[in-house]
Amino acid sequence: MNASVKPAKLIKGQTGDWEVVIGLEVHAQVTSKSKLFSGASTEFGGEPNSHVSLVDAAMPGMLPVINEECVRQAVRTGLGLNAKINLRSVFDRKNYFYADSPQGYQISQYKSPVVGEGEVVVELGGGHTVTVGIERLHLEQDAGKLLHDQSPTMSCVDLNRCGVALMEIVSRPDIRDAEQAKAYVAKLRSILRYLGTCDGDMEKGSLRADVNVSVRKPGGPLGTRCEIKNMNSINFIGQAIEYEARRQIEIIEDGGIIEQETRLFDPDKVETRSMRSKEEAHDYRYFPDPDLLPLEFTQSYVDELRSQLPELPDQKKARFIGGFGLSPYDAGVLVAERESADFYEAVLAGLADKARDGKLAANWVINELFGRLNKEGRDIAASPVSAAQLAAIVDLIGEATISGKIAKDLFEIVWTEGGDPRALVEARGMKQVTDLGAIEKVIDDIIAANPDKVAQAKAKPQLAGWFVGQVMKSSGGKANPQAVNDLLKAKLGI
């Protein structure tokens, strides 16, 4: 790809330009039927405490047993991030007391994560890209949920989510502004969804991010960072970064210093607030979990998983560009969401001549279908026009049975009434007229009736467009536009 690296967006302060340095820790819930170390279900939305095993509730004498499916998903994700897979990794205990953590510790991976360094190429506007380094990916247990609104005097805890597997994906501080951060999370989410290792549903909390932000003079030493916890919306991440960077710049420019701390984002006030300072930070007393053996697997296991990986967004994009001549922008739009790409693939599969009409199909998917879906606030899964129907419409255009204009009418009919596009074209007489004799007759009639326009067009050939419009109008839009043009030029002698 011929993308260029976009210069970092700087923020202007009173003392000059500032550069923002951002790193993210994304927590992605692993798609699996049962929890990381117990057989309890991971299903979302059960009655409180209905998906809790003896292990999850940390009953005396209970022991964790690793769920191999979660390991498989973590390795697949690592492969999708072009990362180093560690054949031996270790589970550690992160010790802290809180009611959402029944064991009194979270089982995580501290010094030896299952996945090491990797990278993600993130597309930005204008054909620019930024490569974000991945430091590591590790597996860990999710916590339970505290409910403070059930009793006036007590808090309650729901342990359904407790012990569900999370992948913590830690980026390097390679991100320089809010747009890049948003694009990075979107790209990561897209990769996870292609892999099927995380559903990426941020509203349900399946994907959350902790955002580390610091500011510095361009090229200067790194500043002190603040961590904004638990962000569950891509837009909020952008807003939080914008606010936090300006907050830090103001403090420094006023002669203050940034304290390392953990902050929370308030989406209503669009500001970040201090949650706890470094002094209040926990000492987690990490140590290897003696209940679990080191996690070990072979290179052939990894190779096997690699060979079964689905096509990922970057590969798919390249194939769309190379195979069907799509613009990088259009290809990017199609692959951003797995569902969009799948829909386009389904349209391609239904085309009579992919090589000829692949690009046309992309235009139709993006402009007509997505445009209409957006307008009506619908999801692609709820599209009234199926991939097969859209492929049929594109086929009809490609084979010159209907014109693009008629195709739009046809699309409207299929959208509102449904039906087989080809049959509709037949039944409603929407077929393009390519019978030159018939078109010629129409042209002759119009020329005969409008001698003044003929004179004008002969003097100024651009005015021939008026005749085209008239011909199309009187043919009900069905006349082949190319044939009309050719005949008109000949008859008018222009």
Binding site: P60, G61, P102, P290
Partner: protein
């Protein structure tokens, strides 16, 4: 009818098979003995109704010829093992009246094989102690007394209830656990046989955890053969415990009476401590002589890192314990002492629920894992552990089949006599046993003689990983040479 409580498991097995008596009769005899021996405080919960129901069910099975390997054998269960619908407390106030809805793997295998549960046995709180004095139910009394003295002695710990009950003929065998010597030291103090199997031999699932990388369940019985019979039922792979090992369980009993001729027995010079009592020294030499007489070859061996084992153990074990005991927080089960905030609830509950020794170890463990101290303590202790393990590996690689040492540095001591001012005094009890846990090896304590006050003393045999069979063969040689020791019954007439 023979005295039903003084039989061995092997003898009772024969009697039951011949229908000389029923399982119910056997159980009733033990229930009566337990009742008469309450002053020993060995049982913290008697389950007579359940015991009689289990025995009755076994009798019906025996009648149909379906009795298992332990059909009708009455056992005591250390209160560290979760028993379904039967209160399980680890002898800590913090578990209160906790009744688990599940059964530990080890005990469920015993019931599978037909054993009968008499009740739950006393132990040091969360198995932390060497005298059974830290139990929230109070100390256990050793059935053994010094000659001519009424002083109450400790049975050792943490499996003090198990050892005391087996020695006093209250049950035919007992489950126990060993993290640093908690099976072998009480066995030595009570003239019983205690086996700490190889780490991973028995499932830890359903056993209240003390230090996960060291904890291992094992039996206490009156003879090597009985211990072998019990271990066969207790051992085995459990998919619910990742650290349990998938390896066939041998017929340990077949090792009893097997010749030890030609075996190389290591005598480690580092176990000869300065100021070691002469009678311990003598016992050790006697044991070696018995094994030699049976055809074994004695070799001097060196385990150079032995002296670091105890200090390293008292870093690793408390570190793991501090984390394992975090779950006792008053939120979901057990004791809850309310507070105005979640932090206060934790503090109040744990302050009221944990005894002094448990609190001490939680604090030590928290300290050694803290930022800035981890490398100096925990990490270094783990390195020491690797070296200790290597000592044994090199020793076994040189052809040594097992290692003979004293089990304890002294005989049983009086209740309240040790550790009051200095906990190290108590910790030194485990000086000969902790190395075995640190290396994950099997160890057995067998009765070998008495001190000049008439108190039992034991020898320890340490084996190669998963070679418990050799330990049983050697233990049997000691048992045959030394004889068996039964304390005179002073605690109450049997029914």
């Amino acid at each position: 009818m023979t005295d039903l409580t003084s039989m061995t498991i092997a003898e009772a097995r024969t009697g039951l098979a011949r229908k000389s008596f029923t399982a119910l009769e056997l159980t009733d005899a033990h229930l009566a003995a337990m009742e008469a021996a309450r002053s020993l405080n060995a049982f913290v919960l008697e389950t007579p109704d359940q015991a009689r129901a289990m025995a009755g069910a076994v009798d019906a099975k025996i009648a149909k010829g379906e009795g298992g390997p332990l059909a009708g054998i009455p056992l005591g269960i250390k209160d560290l093992f979760a028993t379904r619908d039967v209160r399980t407390t680890a002898c800590s106030k913090i578990l209160g009246n906790f009744v688990p809805p599940y059964e530990s793997t080890v005990t469920s295998q015993l019931w599978r094989d037909g054993a009968v549960m008499l009740g739950k046995l006393n132990n040091d709180e969360f198995a932390m102690g060497s005298s059974n004095e830290t139990s929230c139910f109070g100390p256990v009394v050793n059935p053994w007394r010094r000659e001519g003295s009424n002083t109450a002695l400790v049975p050792g710990g943490s499996s003090g209830g198990s050892a005391s009950a087996v020695a006093a003929l209250l049950c035919m065998g007992a489950t126990a656990t060993d993290t640093g010597g908690s099976i072998r030291q009480p066995a030595a103090f009570t003239a019983t046989v205690g086996v700490k199997p190889t780490y991973g031999r028995c499932s830890r699932w359903g056993i209240v955890a003390f230090a996960s990388s060291l904890d291992q369940a094992g039996p206490i019985a009156r003879t090597n053969r009985d211990a072998a019979i019990l271990l066969r039922s207790m051992a085995g792979h459990d998919p619910k415990d990742t650290t349990s090992v998938d390896r066939a369980v041998p017929d340990y009993e077949a090792a009893i009476g097997k010749s030890v001729k030609g075996m190389k027995i290591g005598i480690p010079r580092e176990y000869r401590l300065d100021g070691m009592p002469a009678e311990i020294e003598k016992l050790w030499s006697e044991g070696a002589a018995w094994l030699k007489a049976a055809g074994a070859e004695l070799v001097d061996v060196s385990l150079p890192h032995t002296k670091y084992a105890l200090p390293a153990y008292y870093i690793v074990a408390p570190a793991e314990a501090s984390s394992n005991l975090a779950r006792y927080d008053g939120v979901r089960y057990g004791l809850r002492v309310p507070g105005r905030s979640i932090g206060e609830l934790y503090e109040n509950t744990r302050a009221a629920g944990f005894g002094d020794e448990v609190r001490r170890r939680v604090m030590i463990g928290t300290y050694v894992l803290s930022a800035g101290y981890y490398d100096a303590y925990y990490l270094r202790a783990q390195k020491v552990r690797t070296l200790i393990k290597r000592d044994f590996e090199e020793c076994f690689a040189s052809g040594v089949n097992a290692i003979l040492t004293p089990a304890t540095p002294s005989a049983a001591f009086g209740v309240g006599e040790k550790g009051g001012a200095d906990p190290i005094e108590m910790y030194l009890n485990d000086i000969f046993t902790v190395t075995v846990n640190m290396a994950g090896l099997p160890g057995i304590a067998v009765p070998a003689g008495k001190d000049e006050q008439g108190l039992p003393l034991g020898l320890q045999l340490i084996g190669r990983p998963f070679d418990e069979e050799t330990l049983f063969s050697l233990g049997e040689v000691v048992e045959q040479a030394a004889g068996r020791f039964t304390p005179p019954n002073w605690w109450g007439a049997k029914a």
